[in-house]
C-alpha cells in the first residue's frame, strides 16, 4: 500500500490507532526510514522482517521521494505501507511522519545505517511475542 504523507486525516488515523490498542500482548510497528545515507539495503531488512508479518507486525517504509526500486521492495512484504514524502524531507521529519501512522505499542525505528538493525529488530519482535 502506498500512501502520500500529505493526506488529510492523519490525526484521525492516530486517534483510531490509539483506540485499537488493547491490553495483553503489545503490538509492534517497525518503521524503516529510507534515508539518503543508508548503508543497509532496505530489502535485506524487509526480508528479515517478512517472517514476522504474520504476527500482525505493522511495517512502514518512509521515503523522501519515490525510490527507484519501489516495486521490488513492495514485493518483499506486500502488506508494508510505503509512505512517500516529498523529496528532500529530512530523516527526522520522515520518522515523525511515520510515527503518526504507526499503530503499535512498541515502535522500532530503523534508519538503515546500522548493519545489525535487522537482527536487532528480530530480537525485539521475539521479546514482545
Amino acid at each position: 500500500m502506498i500512501q502520500s504523507l500529505t493526506d488529510d486525516g492523519l490525526q484521525q488515523q492516530q486517534l483510531l490507532a490509539n483506540k485499537s490498542r488493547t491490553a495483553g500482548k503489545p503490538r509492534v510497528s517497525v518503521v524503516f526510514v529510507l534515508s539518503e545515507n543508508h548503508v543497509v539495503s532496505p530489502d535485506r531488512v524487509l526480508t528479515q522482517l517478512e517472517q514476522h508479518v504474520e504476527r500482525e507486525v505493522d511495517v512502514l517504509v518512509a521515503c523522501a521521494g519515490q525510490p527507484a526500486n519501489l516495486s521490488s521492495l513492495q514485493r518483499v512484504i506486500g502488506s508494508a505501507q510505503f509512505l512517500l514524502a516529498p523529496a528532500g524531507t529530512d530523516t527526522e521529519d520522515l520518522r515523525e511522519l511515520a510515527m503518526a501512522r504507526a499503530t503499535g505499542d512498541v515502535i522500532t525505528l530503523l534508519n538503515g545505517t546500522h548493519l545489525d538493525e535487522g537482527a536487532e529488530t528480530q530480537r525485539r519482535l521475539a521479546q514482545t511475542s
Binding site: 490498542r21 491490553a23 520518522r95 515523525e96 510515527m99 503518526a100 512498541v106 515502535i107 525505528l109
Partner: protein, 360 residues
C-alpha cells in the same frame, strides 16, 4: 571484562514535549558512537505530541495506552525491552553533558563491584525564571553537600547494571504513580539487597523544566507526605541526606531553638512591638537557613539570595506541613496498599516484584 558494556538509555516521558527534544538531542550528542547504545523512549500516555518528538530521535518508542502509569511503571517497561548490560535512566527534562554518560559507563566498566552510579544535579537551571533557578540551587545544594555520603539512585540520570535492577525487583510501580522519590526508594532497596550505589559529582546534569511557585509547592508537598508516610523519614535521611526535603527541614531545629531563645529574651523586654517580634522571627529563620542562603549568594549573588528568602521560608512551611500530614496519614490509614491484582501476585509468590499492573 569480556568486552565493552552495552548501554541502553531509557527516557520516560509524560506530557513534556517542550523539554524532551532538548533532552534527547543532548543524549545523542554524547561522546559515544551512536551504535554503542540504544535509545528507548517510553511515552506514558502523553497528549501533547511527546511521542512524535521521541520518534524523531529514538531507536524505539513504547507507547503506553490509557491513563498515566507513572515514571516507575514507564521505566520498568522500557528496561524490559532493552538489550544493554547497563541501563541508563534519564529524565525527560534533563540535559546531560556530552561526557556524562560515557564517563558513568567508564566508572561501571572499571569497577565491577559497583552496581549503579548516578549523576548529581547542577546548580544552574535551564530555565531563566527565579523559581527554576531556586529549585535547581536547592537540588544542587543537597547534591554538593552530600555527594560522598549518599546512596540514592537518581532517575534524573542514573545508570545501573541490568542484573542489579532485576534482582532488586525494579522500580516500585504501585506506590510511585507520580515522578517523586521512586529513585530514592529503589536506591534504598538496592542498598538493602547488598548492591553498591554511588553518586558521581564530576558531571552534574541540568534540569530544563520551568518551575513556578505552585509546581514547587506541589513537588515539596508530595515528597514530604511520601517520605513520612511510606519511606520512613529518619531511615531515608540517613541514606539520602541530599534530598530536598531534608535540606528544607534541616533548618527547623535551629530555627525552633533560636525562636525559643528570642521568646525567652522577650520576657525581659517591656512590651516589644509586633514589628520587632516579626523581625526577630524572620531573623531567626534566616539565621537557621544561613548555609543554604550563603550557597545561594555564592552561586547567584546577594540579590538573588535575598529574593529567595520568602520563597524558601514558604517552601519550608509547605514541607513541614506535608511531613506532619504524612505522619498523620501513616498513623490513621497506614502505608498505601497495592491493588488486589498486585496482592494476588504476591500471595502466589511471584518472584519479580512488584508485578506489572495491567491496563484496564
Amino acid at each position: 571484562m569480556s568486552g565493552p558494556l552495552v548501554l541502553s538509555v531509557v527516557v520516560p516521558v509524560r506530557n513534556e514535549a517542550g523539554y524532551l527534544r532538548k533532552s534527547l538531542q543532548a543524549i545523542l550528542t554524547s561522546d559515544m558512537p551512536r551504535q554503542a547504545y540504544e535509545l528507548v523512549v517510553v511515552d506514558d500516555g502523553s497528549t501533547d505530541g511527546s511521542a512524535a518528538i521521541a520518534g524523531r530521535f529514538a531507536d524505539t518508542v513504547i507507547r503506553l495506552a490509557g491513563r498515566g502509569w507513572g515514571p516507575a511503571y514507564a521505566c520498568n517497561r522500557g528496561a524490559e525491552l532493552t538489550r544493554g548490560d547497563v541501563i541508563a535512566f534519564v529524565g525527560s527534562d534533563v540535559v546531560v553533558e556530552p561526557h556524562t554518560l560515557p564517563r558513568m559507563l567508564d566508572i561501571l566498566a572499571a569497577r565491577p563491584e559497583l552496581h549503579a552510579v548516578s549523576a548529581t544535579h547542577a546548580s544552574r537551571s535551564g530555565a531563566p525564571n527565579l523559581m527554576s533557578k531556586y529549585w535547581s540551587l536547592l537540588l544542587g545544594f543537597g547534591s554538593k553537600r552530600n555527594v560522598a555520603a549518599t546512596a540514592a539512585f537518581g532517575s534524573h540520570c542514573g545508570m545501573i547494571r541490568r542484573t542489579a535492577l532485576l534482582s532488586a525487583g525494579m522500580y516500585d510501580e504501585w506506590r510511585f504513580k507520580s515522578a517523586c522519590l521512586e529513585d530514592v526508594e529503589l536506591g534504598q532497596r538496592l542498598k538493602k539487597s547488598g548492591h553498591s550505589v554511588v553518586i558521581t559529582g564530576e558531571h552534574p546534569v541540568t534540569h530544563v523544566k520551568r518551575w513556578d511557585l505552585r509546581s514547587i509547592f506541589r513537588e515539596v508537598w508530595n515528597r514530604s507526605v511520601l517520605l513520612s508516610r511510606s519511606l520512613g523519614y529518619e531511615r531515608t535521611r540517613s541514606s539520602v541526606p541530599g534530598e530536598v526535603v531534608f535540606t528544607l527541614t534541616r533548618a527547623v531545629i535551629p530555627a525552633m531553638a533560636l525562636l525559643t531563645t528570642v521568646a525567652l529574651t522577650a520576657a525581659f523586654v517591656a512590651r516589644p512591638s509586633l514589628s520587632l517580634r516579626l523581625f526577630l522571627c524572620v531573623a531567626a529563620l534566616v539565621c537557621a537557613n544561613l548555609p543554604v542562603l550563603r550557597f545561594f549568594a555564592r552561586e547567584r549573588g546577594l540579590f538573588f539570595a535575598a529574593a529567595a528568602v520568602p520563597v524558601h521560608l514558604l517552601t519550608q512551611s509547605v514541607g513541614a506541613v506535608g511531613l506532619c500530614v504524612g505522619w498523620l496519614m501513616r498513623d490513621a490509614l497506614g502505608d498505601p496498599l497495592p491493588d488486589a491484582v498486585t496482592q494476588a501476585f504476591a500471595e502466589v509468590g511471584v518472584e519479580k516484584w512488584p508485578p506489572v499492573p495491567r491496563p484496564l
